[in-house]
């Protein structure tokens, strides 16, 4: 053993790249060589700064937070900036005076916004666009401006028309302001887009209601009756409620500068191709690093630097490669797509440019090729960036086709086979086509599986279309067949059953399937029949299709007993109701537990006891809670305006109404819901399939959340809607889900798998793009009208009751394998021995 005590790694900066570095070291350092301390200036854990603008769209700080590296070897020291570096003593000191000794120091401090030295730039109302705190301040100021009692439009000036400036402008427009973008260069996005592309981009941006002024700069900012006036170099004065500076960034290299480390010509900590400074203990990664003199303001090169340093810290020999320094970008704004990749501005000597410019359609495409017209060097796409995923990985490779045909409308459609194996498909995570293809060969047969095992497509997502092409090309037959008995998907089966009027499984399988069915297709068909309102789930042949939970209308537990959950709508229950449940549990010897869905679960009921238990519950006014079904479970609520000092709407009342409306609704999977009375979100509505959160003006509707194996927050579908509109939207959402989802697909996975995702869902159920909303609502009305309690249905039917026996030849004899012991005052199952039938 060489070292007993771990070495100290101090990472200064907790942005995306610093975070990636920590992850990369922990992934590689299986021996636990390095103890890692992360010093962060911002008080919050690392978040996705690339997606910063989505904060304005309703994503929360939590949504943007990167997955925590929870590890005893990693310590986060946040809200305390590193202020001094003593290289001789190998110690970093923070603003609070804390000192950290290091064996290796990685500077990942990123950059700071560049604010041009304009008089008035520090006035209240002037902001930069870099951190969540900046966005909080901008949002608060925009809200104040919008609320101010004065006539006229609210406006903002954005200084800088680069990628970040356009994002800022879009965010400001979403906040209700009219943004004016001022760019000193003669075109927008001058770093990425050439003149022709800039002109098309400008027209597209202006049609999105953003004002653009290029070739001018802001010369001063002054206060004017509570607002600001920005004077431009051409003498024009713009009045504004806010000014946002997004005129570029500068490396945050102060710590290194004061410690006497050499800097790049334009700032940044000078490092070699291994990201190491001349001080062998000090490394730099991300925007603060001047890699062989050049800084990079994008996350992908930063990630590559983090991987190189992690490798080096563990004795590796990695260096940065030209492919790691890919500066391709893709900007997605409402309706405007821009992408640039490789040598977009044709700086390579002798480079040739091929341009297809269609000002009528509003698209511009350019490829930059080598002087012999054989190798693709780069390109620019404006207006239609759909070819980005195919073209970007081809940079540096021989052209697979005539370059004009590759970008012309109706030209060559490049398949995935045009790419060499070495082509980087996911530039954010440096994943090559070869790596993805081998993952597919190893059994990753859909996009989520590829994401899980390669990380490709998990950052910006622009390569997902290429992942799909690779799947297609690899010949992975993504079978839609439900099972060996039906060659169609669940959605198609739904259409067949709805369209043909077939109402029995035997007729369906005779006409549209083969064999006798199985435990996959039978419950799926049972669920479809139930969604279509074909009577009691245990009526006639339907009884044979149900799995054991639906067959006994209770949840099978490990010892062969069942649990019973009566519906408690919205979690609201009277003292009498509680007493009834208590008495039933006591009299039948049941174990009781409060569930996460605000109701009470009674465990340990034997099959033959179920009807008697239901009889007692039904007589007291309870009904089935469908805890056993792929159906609506609960609508959880907080107490809302009724009691809560902060409540904005009656969340309990709405939750009860929703639960009663959708009770008994069978779906491809369970459906959970929640209603919160204010933004504090005590009902955890955003972890539900549909969640409703009260606002001052009405309700916000979120869809596609779930807890479970892969937790996911629901996304905002509609905001500030009134109760009637809300219910229409939920009706449509649920019915569309029931009709089109796969078997056992929760709403989150359903939306993710949908072509066009949330935008498509919104188009269908908010804008009625398919013209089916009236039909969806009518289907839900039919469900509501036809609902009846399933437990009561059994109690009232002697033929169904007959099935609730332990043994056909000894109906009341308890199953002798079931026994209980007492634990913490309640009965729990005695563990069952396995019968040892293994040969």
């Amino acid at each position: 053993m060489t070292e007993l005590v771990g070495k100290e790694l101090v990472v200064v900066g907790n942005g995306m790249v610093g975070h990636r570095l920590v992850q990369a070291v922990r992934d590689r350092d299986t021996a636990g060589t390095w103890r890692i301390t992360v010093l962060g200036e911002e008080p919050r854990p690392a978040y996705d700064r690339v997606a910063l603008s989505s904060y304005v769209d309703g994503k929360s700080a939590d949504d943007l937070t990167l997955p925590a590296v929870s590890d005893p070897l990693v310590q986060l020291h946040l809200g305390d900036a590193a202020v001094a570096l003593d290289r001789d003593a190998r110690v970093v000191r923070t603003a609070s005076g804390a000192e950290f000794r290091y064996d290796a120091l990685v500077l990942a401090t990123g950059s700071v916004p560049f604010v041009p030295p304009v008089p008035g730039r520090d006035l209240p109302g002037c902001f930069v666009y870099r951190t969540l705190d900046d966005l909080d301040a901008i949002m608060a100021a925009a809200e104040r401006a919008v609320a101010a009692p004065r006539p006229g439009r609210r406006s903002a000036v954005v200084v800088g028309g680069g990628l970040l400036g356009l994002e800022a402008a879009r965010a400001l427009r979403l906040l209700g302001l009219s943004p004016q973008v001022v760019e000193i260069a003669p075109r927008l996005m001058p770093m990425q887009v050439d003149e022709g592309g800039g002109a098309v981009l400008r027209r597209l941006v202006e049609s999105e209601d953003l004002q653009v002024r290029c070739g001018v700069s802001v010369t001063s900012i002054a206060e004017d009756r509570g607002r600001l006036i920005a004077t431009l170099s051409d003498g024009v004065e713009l009045d504004a409620d806010l000014v946002v500076f997004s005129a570029g960034i500068r490396p945050a290299d102060g710590l290194a500068r004061e410690a006497g480390l050499p800097l790049g010509e334009r700032g940044g900590v000078l490092v070699n191709s291994a990201c190491r400074s001349p001080d062998p203990h000090i490394w730099a990664v991300g925007e603060v690093a001047a890699l062989e003199g050049r800084t990079y303001g994008l996350v992908a090169p930063g990630y590559a630097m983090a991987e190189v340093v992690a490798d080096r810290l563990l004795g590796g020999e990695a260096t940065m490669t030209p492919a790691d320094l890919d500066t391709s970008t893709q900007l997605k704004m409402l309706g405007v797509d821009v992408a640039s990749f490789g040598d977009a501005l044709a700086r390579t000597p002798g480079a040739l440019e091929v341009v297809v410019n269609d000002p009528v359609a509003g698209s511009y495409a350019k490829l930059v090729v080598s002087d012999d017209a054989k190798t693709l060097l780069g390109g620019v796409l404006v207006g239609d960036a759909s070819k980005y995923a195919t073209l970007r990985p081809l940079v540096g490779s021989p052209l697979p086709a005539d370059p004009v045909a590759m970008i012309a409308p109706g030209g060559v459609e490049l398949g995935a086979d045009a790419l060499p194996d070495s082509a980087q498909v996911c530039s954010c995570n440096a994943i090559t086509k070869g790596a993805i293809c081998s993952a597919i060969a190893d059994g990753a047969h859909d996009v989520p599986a590829i994401k899980a095992c390669t990380r490709a497509g998990t950052s910006c997502g622009s390569c997902v279309p290429m992942l799909k092409k690779l799947l297609e090309q690899s010949g992975v037959e993504v079978s839609k067949a439900l099972c060996e008995h039906f060659a169609v998907s669940r959605a198609e089966l739904f259409e067949i059953i709805a369209g043909t009027g077939i109402r029995t499984f035997s007729e369906l399988i005779a006409q549209y399937g083969r064999g006798r069915g199985c435990d996959i297709c039978k419950p799926a068909v049972a669920s479809i029949l139930a969604s279509l309102g074909t009577g009691h789930v245990l009526s006639g042949e339907q009884a044979t299709l149900q799995d054991t939970n639906d067959h006994f209308l209770a949840n099978l537990q490990r010892n062969g007993t069942y649990s019973v959950v009566p519906r408690i709508p919205g979690g609201e229950i009277t003292p009498e109701g509680l007493i009834t449940i208590g008495e039933v549990a006591r009299d039948f010897g049941l174990y009781t537990k409060i569930t996460g869905g605000q109701r009470i679960d009674m465990f340990g009921a034997r099959v033959e006891q179920l009807p008697a238990i239901w009889r007692r519950l039904v007589d007291a006014g309870f009904e089935s809670g469908h805890a056993y079904g792929k159906a609506l479970r609960t609508v959880k609520s907080c107490v809302g305006t009724t009691w809560c000092r902060y409540g904005q709407q009656d969340s309990v009342g709405l939750a009860v109404a929703l639960e009663l409306r959708y009770r008994g609704l069978r779906a491809p999977h369970k459906v959970k819901a929640g209603v919160s009375g204010c933004a504090r979100e005590c009902a955890e509505a955003r972890s539900k399939d549909f969640g409703v959160i009260a606002t001052e003006k009405g309700w916000n509707l979120y869809v596609g959340g779930n807890g479970g194996f892969q937790p996911r927050h629901a996304d905002l579908l509609a905001s500030d809607v009134d109760t009637d509109a809300l219910i229409s939207l939920i009706d449509r959402f649920l019915m569309f889900y029931i009709r089109t989802a796969d078997r056992l697909q929760r709403t989150a996975a359903w939306i993710e798998a949908m072509d066009g995702g949330l935008d498509h869902l919104r188009a269908v159920i908010v804008d009625d793009s398919l013209g089916i909303c009236a039909d969806l609502e009518a289907a839900m009305e039919a469900h509501v009208a036809n609902y009846s309690d399933e437990w009561r249905g059994v109690l009232e039917d002697p033929e169904k009751l007959e099935r609730f026996v332990s043994f056909v030849n000894a109906p009341d004899t308890p199953d002798p394998t079931i026994s209980f012991v007492s634990e913490r005052g309640q009965p729990v199952p005695v563990p069952l021995g396995l019968p040892g039938v293994r040969a």
Partner: protein, 129 residues
Amino acid sequence: MTAETIHTAGTVHDAPSDIRWETVCLLDRLLPERGAAALLAAGGEPVQVALFRMVDDTVHAIGNIDPFSGAAVLSRGIVGDRGGVPIVASPVYKQAFNLITGQCLDDPDVRVPVYPVRIADGWLQVGIP
């Protein structure tokens, strides 16, 4: 239905001489394509049997205890076929069992007992060794 239709299910218990036929219930008591449990006794020990009536009125009988969980629940599984082999899927962890041989299709080392069944004058009888 003929009065003395005899279904021997599988080979394991084929007509051993000391077989004892126990009458369980009328065939019509069983729902087609669905299972039911019966409580019998062998050598003084309780034996749980899962009975499955198929659409053609043949009946299969296998042990009711699910070997993967120990729970007496195989009778509550969904009946169907895999590649034409009649099966029941355990309701606990979903393994499929061949209704004719008792063989688990998902784990070749696992098998549940099978019992001969016959129908006499409408009465379902199970052969217990």
